[in-house]
Amino acid sequence: MIYEMKISLPFPKQAYAVFFVVILSLVRGVTCSDEIGIALEAPVAILAAAFCADTYTQEVVSRRSEIQRLCPMIKRINSVYRRIVIQDIFLLSVAAAGYGLFFLFQNPEIDGTGSSGLENEACRFLVYFAAVAVTIGFWGLLSNLLSCLFRNMWMGIGGCLLLWLITNSSMGDRYLGAWNLFSYTFRSLENSGDYTWLYGKTACIGIGVIAAAVLPKIIEKRG
């Protein structure tokens, strides 16, 4: 596991992810704390896509995949899954820290006062954390899947960017509604009891599970 951490999280990658979130928390304006999740979800999605695109393609570029081909498939696949999990955990930590950075730099309004305000905020953070965990997992897996399919990380990033532009738009919101991949971002802030955005996240989980199941076949076929 420690070797996979070293392989999938080199310092430049860690640095650009942290830098991205710091800059975002400085330049993206929020007035209330419930806007923080909206401000973070879509950018973190594209960060996850760029971050995870080379999970396996680094093996192809360095020609290590030619050696790995001789290793048992189960070992190779487990190693790729482990790398994805490591990267997702790192990105999730960065996304959680990003949430805090908005408070640090922008001091947004919190709904409620005293302990009830804190409780509300903790709840809001947990919901954000769960939503963004699904988002990171989905975009990371998709980007890695596309990269493996085309044996090129730019195809993974490009494909994800295209889907990101479609789904993170008013058109995506209009046509996909609660099933949109960014349903958490497009949810109604006024109606806090409306949890229909969970459909979108369920769609992410469903597609993610399929992607995870297809990935071994693609690596086996494409090498």
């Binding site: 070797y3 070293k6 030619e66 001789l70 190779r76």
Partner: protein
């Protein structure tokens, strides 16, 4: 038992035929594969390591036919060092080899013992804590070779392992290959004739996707005997005339004169003497016969 190649053809999507109806048998010991750049050596190795699927013909390894259904069985028997490889730059030598060993399914303790043994043999023990990116080209090749033999495969395929290395590094790699080849098959591809002369008894010569020769080194040299000539030229213009007419294998200043070694099927008209053929001369003789 060994590798048997029959009527092998590999044609790429762009219609380039890299291997053209080739036949070859490789038995135990070190087998050399010699050929110019672009001859098809790397393509052949990629077929043998199941990276590429052949377009036509059959390949068998220990009697197992190359087909998708058998790839897993075949892959377990092979160790491979590609021509260009960039092993994990952020890991140390020890970590990199442990990681590769783990991927190959070697039990951790056995893997560590083997790593220590091979690091010792390749004089890399003192560099085991260095990161891969800090190593010289020769050291990286040696680590690459260790990863290829770590699982102690029955068949070892090494693609130009000595390219770009200094003489000492080349000797180390050659010696390691010779040590490893006992009771195993090693396919050693190179365009450095000297390396094969120092390690192999049997070899094949490739050109434009075909095998021009396959057999013992002695027989190859014998074929060239009587066709290698040496003459002395007084000036550059005579040397240039010779180069136009014959395949010159070496030129050397001996005092004021140029000593030129060249290949000719027939005795040349000028004053010259026949000389003993080396493997390099034989290689040039064989390849020059094929347009």
């Amino acid at each position: 038992m060994g590798i048997k190649i029959e009527d092998l053809t590999v044609t790429f999507k762009n219609k380039v035929t890299a291997i053209n109806h080739a036949d070859l048998e490789i038995s135990k010991g070190i087998f050399g594969l010699l050929g110019e750049n672009g001859a098809g050596k790397t393509t052949l190795m990629r077929v043998l390591t199941t990276v590429l699927s052949p377009t036509g013909g059959t390949v068998t390894l220990d009697g197992i036919r190359y087909s998708e259904a058998n790839y897993e069985k075949i892959q377990r028997k092979i160790g491979y060092l590609p021509q260009e490889i960039d092993l994990y730059p952020g890991l140390t030598v020890q970590e990199c080899l442990e990681y590769m060993g783990d991927l190959s399914g070697i039990p951790r303790q056995i893997c560590r013992e083997r790593i220590s043994c091979y690091l010792e043999k390749t004089s890399l023990s003192e560099h085991r804590r260095k990161k891969m990116k800090q190593l010289s080209g020769g050291m990286k090749r040696r680590v690459g070779l260790i990863q290829a033999i770590l699982s102690e495969p029955e068949f070892l395929i090494v693609d130009e392992p000595t390219t770009g290395l200094d003489p000492e590094e080349r000797i180390r790699i050659r010696n390691l290959l010779v040590d490893f080849s006992q009771d195993r098959t090693v396919l050693f591809s190179t365009h450095v004739v000297e390396d094969l002369a120092a390690t192999c008894n049997r070899l094949a010569v490739m050109k434009k996707g075909k095998f021009l020769y396959s057999g013992s080194m002695r027989e190859l040299v014998k074929q060239a005997e009587g066709h290698i000539w040496v003459c002395r030229a007084k000036d550059e213009s005579t040397a240039r005339q010779l180069e136009k007419k014959y395949h010159v294998s070496s030129k050397q200043y001996a005092g004021d004169e140029l000593q030129i070694k060249f290949i000719s099927e027939e005795p040349p008209e000028m004053e010259c003497r026949s000389c003993e053929a080396t493997l390099e001369d034989a290689y040039i003789y064989i390849t020059s016969k094929e347009p």
